[in-house]
Symmetry: none
């Protein structure tokens, strides 16, 4: 759907799009499929929530980007909050499907963790808005009460996923049982850092992951001369 964008970082903010005064008519437009339009809204919404956040994303901008009018949005979603929830579910599903596969591909804690980090990088290369949405939504859930209220269920997924991995590390002897909380906090910090600090820059993202992997393997730093 990419239309010409002239360098301006914020694609999402600048298009009143008068569309050459198109002769828009009432009624159902020729060739319009429900599922396709709904998908377009979710897609556009993920990008906008990721870039501008929940509050700064207006239904007008979503509608314009999706090629419809504000009213039409409410044919598909009951409210802006509903759109957010739909995006969140879709993103969570896509990400944890891949993370799960990565985790199962190795049989040491360090192997699993590195596989997940690599998967995070792959996902980021495929679609940077996933990680960006994840980072943005964590912030917005803290800022916008209604988003926090609508969370709960899916949220646990993330915590559980990494907690299980740490428990597995304890079982293999890689992690001292006393360090469990420490390792958990560190992984949480690391993954949040990756989404928030470098997900919008593929090179930096690659470098940060390489740094962490080297650190995990004890190869990054040497003794001073």
């Amino acid at each position: 759907m990419a239309r010409g964008d002239k360098s301006g970082k914020s694609k999402l903010k600048e298009k009143p799009k008068p569309k050459a005064k198109a002769k828009t008519k009432l009624g159902r437009p020729p060739a319009s499929s429900s599922a396709e339009t709904r998908g377009r809204i979710i897609d556009v919404a993920r990008r906008s929530f990721a870039e501008l956040g929940y509050e700064a994303t207006t239904n007008r901008s979503l509608a314009t980007e999706a090629g419809i009018t504000t009213g039409a949005i409410y044919h598909y979603f009951e409210s802006k909050l509903d759109i957010f929830i739909a995006v969140e579910n879709e993103v969570q599903r896509r990400v944890y499907l891949r993370f799960g596969a990565a985790e199962r591909s190795a049989d040491t804690f360090i192997g699993k963790l590195e596989a997940v980090l690599e998967t995070a990088h792959e996902l980021n290369r495929e679609d940077a808005t996933l990680a960006q949405f994840l980072g943005a939504s964590r912030i917005d859930r803290m800022r916008v009460p209604e988003l926090a209220a609508a969370h709960t269920e899916m949220s646990a997924q993330r915590v559980d996923f990494f907690d299980d991995m740490v428990a597995f590390g304890v079982s293999t002897g890689e992690i001292d049982p006393a360090d469990q909380a420490t390792v958990s906090a560190m992984i949480h910090t690391m993954t949040v850092g990756l989404t928030d600090a470098v997900s919008n820059n593929l090179v930096a993202h690659r470098n940060a992951i390489d740094g962490f992997k080297a650190l995990l393997e004890g190869k990054l730093l040497h003794r001073p001369k």
Copy 2:
């Protein structure tokens, strides 16, 4: 259902009338100086920007919290943007003053980095809104174009600070020159992670830092059995 309540977004939003009840705390002297009021606005603003973000922070809420009226704010600041800049400068100053001292207290890369991490924790214990504002403002600069425009100068401070530290690590032989970008990206990710993931939870913050320190020293993980 009660009328004037609507759900009350957060702590910062629920004090409609702090007036009348004159003698709060140590009773702010009637001779409240201009400078004091300005300071109070900045203080209140840091907290609100940290918790709710730039857009969700209203001039009215700032005024109410600071014990004045909306109009009065414009005696001290030209605009909301101006308040944000003032807060940002104050926070940067306070943080990098301490980070600088920490960095000078050690003479190896690893020592400097650990000292800075410890300082981050100390600061967080003293006033959690500093780190929270830092995290929130990084997001808001990406979301609100006017904030990005007002940044530049101070921003470099952060990048320079850690770049210099990494360069120092190369000079001591602790870092392979080829790994410079890698280490930079990793430190950036680590510090952003600390502000975004755990700055609102002292225990987790402590744990994450302990984890990173152990990792830096190669003591966190062991070979699987």
Copy 3:
């Protein structure tokens, strides 16, 4: 807080999906004729106009209640206004058919009036939405200009009906010719009061009618002791 509910204005608003569960009641035959659907719309509309009024009644709610979609309504009626007119005509017809019969059943003014009041009560017992619609529509005609425009013809029916009755009362000597306007205004007030004040409460409706009848017969009040 749950999402898709918002408080549900009233009974008429809370049935989003009456479909699927095909065999309601006596199982409306798949050969649901055009006329039957039209009748169902009028029925549902009378109820909704009576309870919520014209503006608050939405085409969507009518469609849902009638088991069709918004678009389908326009096969039967040109506009919402058209539906209102159809309901109004049907109600007027049903009510004045019965009132006429009642009026003819007595041969004194007082007898006719009491017969009409009794009929009003019977009608109210059979279908309370008739009187409720009558009350609601009188209000809506004052509030919504397009409804007033569409009235005139049928409206006269009511005025004529009672004026004729009063004229009859003059002819029998029951009413002093000079009191004609007075009695008319009083009857109007009485009947409007009955629809507006007590048509939603059978007991009160009964009591009010008994009160008026006793008053008409001079039996309600006594001299003070």
Copy 4:
């Protein structure tokens, strides 16, 4: 569909009032008093609620009529509901102050009731919007759930007022104790009828009251010849 509403009658509906493109400026206008503006809003609101009802009364129309902008309304009232409540309280206060005085001016049931009916007429002559608002608000409380929710306290006033009067009638022997509910329902019907059927027509209002008074005194109807 033709928006056809020409016809006049609805004063409150037709004034975009461009005010000769007045050079409206920002900031506080010269000579503006809080209390006066607030009073103007309530006044305009009573009229509009009375004529158009709650839902059809828009804040734009209120603002225009009151000579301000929509935003300014929210300086005085938190919501449209709040305006309604303010109007309702004011009207109830004004009406029952006068009704109370009337009731105390006589010492028989029939005397009290007639005095109240006369007062109703006086009030109607002074300001017809009082009775009209009372009638309209009764309807709107049934139609708009939020209005019903905000009622309770003041509502009882009406019921109590007339119940007390009927009880007094029993004590004087004017009313048979067994007829108490009957008389109450009849008075309720009568007063509602007066507001709903004839409050917008002074002559009819006068006639209806004269009719009821004659009826109460047993002088209205005679035996047929």
